[in-house]
């Protein structure tokens, strides 16, 4: 199948792995930023095939995982209202708030719907003028244009019963936080290809320059990930730090200007709390003043809801690459996909869930 089969080819994978092995002379710690890449790595067993000296640290790039607990609790409060149809991407539905999740809200009669495109939520709003329709707009730069588009459309067409619960996060400030951490171990990054497809590569030049760290925009199929790793390792071995694009079939240096324009029109930069990590300044997007009427947090007055996270859960350290999921004492015990303590155990993109599903053989029972 075009664009899938050729990027999972076993012979080409072997050649890339051989190339990586041949050029690796010392230990290197690489971080794949995006949860989609973590999923590919674990699902295909890529980390087991790499030389022992290459360590992959799973980054904070799973939007489900980093959405703050209090935002989930706000979502639950809104979704429980009888006048609301609450729409969400599929894997946000099972993310635990402090005592509930959206599945349970649904089981108690809440109208919670999985949509495949944010624009479907706008359509639902048009079809249900007597209901308030809320879309849970989470994600990195990748999902932001479509989420922004919902509000733009709603405003254009006067669909006043639509609003957006926004918890957008941005990759470059997260990379900056990781590089500024005194305990950091990351020596090179696989940047999230789809984020770069939207935003382009410009933002990463300053990071490469300032931190002298290789950053390679990388795709999501097995060969994409291997090629990203190969290019980062090559830079590290050669003692250089450059911005590189290993995903040129999707990433243009300038990104997608049309998508960026929609985002600029609707959102503005804000400080954002990341689940398990804490506050990262200037690391999110929220609706700007022109579109504040469509902000579900304000419309439903849930800003007063604030919550603390489970002390057992070390997802923050997992998300920062300080520990592997199975090094957490709750992993596979108090914390499983069935009863997740932290969000990385929920989404199949989450590092803990990926470990639990695909790597249980290595975990002592």
């Amino acid at each position: 199948m075009k664009y899938l089969d050729e990027f999972g080819d076993a012979d080409l994978a072997k050649r890339l792995l051989d190339d990586i092995a041949a050029s690796t002379t010392q230990p290197w710690a690489l971080m794949e930023v995006c949860g989609g890449q973590t999923h590919t790595i674990i699902r295909n067993g890529i980390d087991q095939l790499l030389p022992d000296q290459i360590e992959l640290i799973h980054g904070p790039g799973c939007p489900v995982c980093v959405t703050p607990l209090e935002t989930i609790d706000r979502a639950l409060a809104i979704a429980a209202r009888p006048d609301v149809i609450f729409c969400s991407f599929g894997d946000m539905i099972r993310v635990p708030g402090s005592s509930d999740d959206l599945f349970r809200i649904k089981s108690r009669g809440g109208d919670v719907r999985i949509v495949y495109s944010p624009l479907d939520a706008v359509k639902i709003a048009q079809e249900n003028p007597d209901k308030q329709v809320v879309f849970f707009g989470v994600g990195f730069e990748t999902t932001a244009p479509a989420n922004a588009m919902t509000v733009k459309l709603a405003k254009q067409q006067g669909i006043d019963n639509f609003s957006l619960l926004v918890s957008h996060v941005l990759v470059p400030p997260a990379i900056r936080t990781i590089m500024d951490s005194p305990t950091r171990r990351v020596q090179g990054f696989l940047a999230a290809g789809h984020v770069c497809t939207v935003m382009g590569l410009g933002e990463y030049e300053a990071l490469v320059e300032q931190y002298q760290v290789p950053i390679v925009a990388t795709g999501f199929e097995p060969l994409d990930v291997l090629e990203g790793i190969r290019r980062v390792v090559r830079q590290l071995e050669n003692g250089v730090a450059e911005l590189d694009n290993a995903y040129p079939r999707a990433v243009q240096p300038q990104g997608n200007p049309v998508a960026q324009q929609v985002v600029r029109e609707v959102f503005e930069i804000c400080d954002r709390n990341w689940r398990g990590i804490g506050m990262i300044p200037q690391s999110g997007w929220r609706l700007n003043a022109d579109h504040a009427d469509y902000d579900a947090e304000k419309r439903f007055e849930v800003l007063g809801i604030t919550t603390v996270e489970s002390p057992l859960c070390r997802s923050g350290e997992v998300l920062q690459g300080l520990i592997k999921p199975n090094e957490c004492s709750a992993f596979g015990k108090q914390c499983t996909p069935r009863l997740p303590l932290g969000a990385p155990m929920v989404s199949s993109e989450g590092a803990c869930a990926a470990y639990y599903q695909f790597r249980r053989l290595e975990v002592p029972a």
Binding site: N44, Q48, D91, R104, Y116, G139, T143, S347
Partner: protein
Amino acid sequence: MTDRPDLENWTCPVPLRDQTSIVMGHGGGGRLSSELVEHLFLPAFTGTPLAGVLERLGDSAVLELAGSRLAFTTDSYVVRPRFFPGGNVGDLAVNGTVNDLSVSGAVPLALSAGLILEEGMPLDELGVITQTMGDAARAAGVSIVTGDTKVVDAGHGDGVYINTAGIGLVRDGLMLGPDQVRPGDRILLSGPIAAHGIAVLSVREGLEFGSEIVTDSQPLNGLIGALLDSGARVSMMRDPTRGGVAATLNEVAAASGCGVQIVESAVPVPDDVRAACAFLGLDPMLVANEGRVVVFVRAGDADLAAETLRSHPAGTGAALIGEVVAEHPGIVVAKTGIGGTRVVDLPLAEQLPRIC
């Protein structure tokens, strides 16, 4: 087994223990479904003369009656939408029960049909659905011999829910089940997977994929009959419906106490289905099938079984996908396309489409 549900020591705190209410995941064929059966239904139904039959949790119950072995099964069909590419709830209801009997080694004989109709359900649609049921029964060579009709208020059902129960006679001398599965057994799959789940999803969610993905729903009694006629020493069969091939392999691994190893690239998935799954972030191994069977067969008979399946119209796409091993009991491990390995887990509940 205890007399009543052991709520204190229940291992599943989500959601029954905390919430005392059902969530959709309890019907998903994954871990939540099994827990409901194990902790609530089995304790409730114990203490009857044939309760031991239930505890085997086979696709059909097998009862010894007057020197014969009778297979008995039931299933309810609540699919939404009622019509989807390649079929509707009617043929699904017949094929599903025919297949549950067939994988138990039985020749299906007779079915019941219980229809729960919602007030307002158009009669012409109901006519099409029941006609399709009849067509499916004739195609499978089974008879619908009894039935029941109930009507519920508008808003209390999705037009029509169908329950079918079925009986069949198990072949003489045939012993099938997880206790027959041995390390070394080969694992065959009768054809490409995941088409049914994606066909239903595409209509329910209004998704278009460029080509129409059609359900794989079909009766398997002819195919399975041919397989058993061939003399291949089959140790167990199961149709991978809800929870997909991953759930079936996990159930067999758990019940047999053996490990299961599969080669991911050997599992056939049609291109359009694979593209749809990739697009939606779904794993085809977890998607439902309605016309496929997973066969465990002694290693020496694997080729014979594969050839027999392939020479039947319902099994042309049959493939050898793996084997039973003594290592990692209860766990399913897949060799990935690029040569790594991963654990194939039992899904918790329904799959959730990934965000990006």
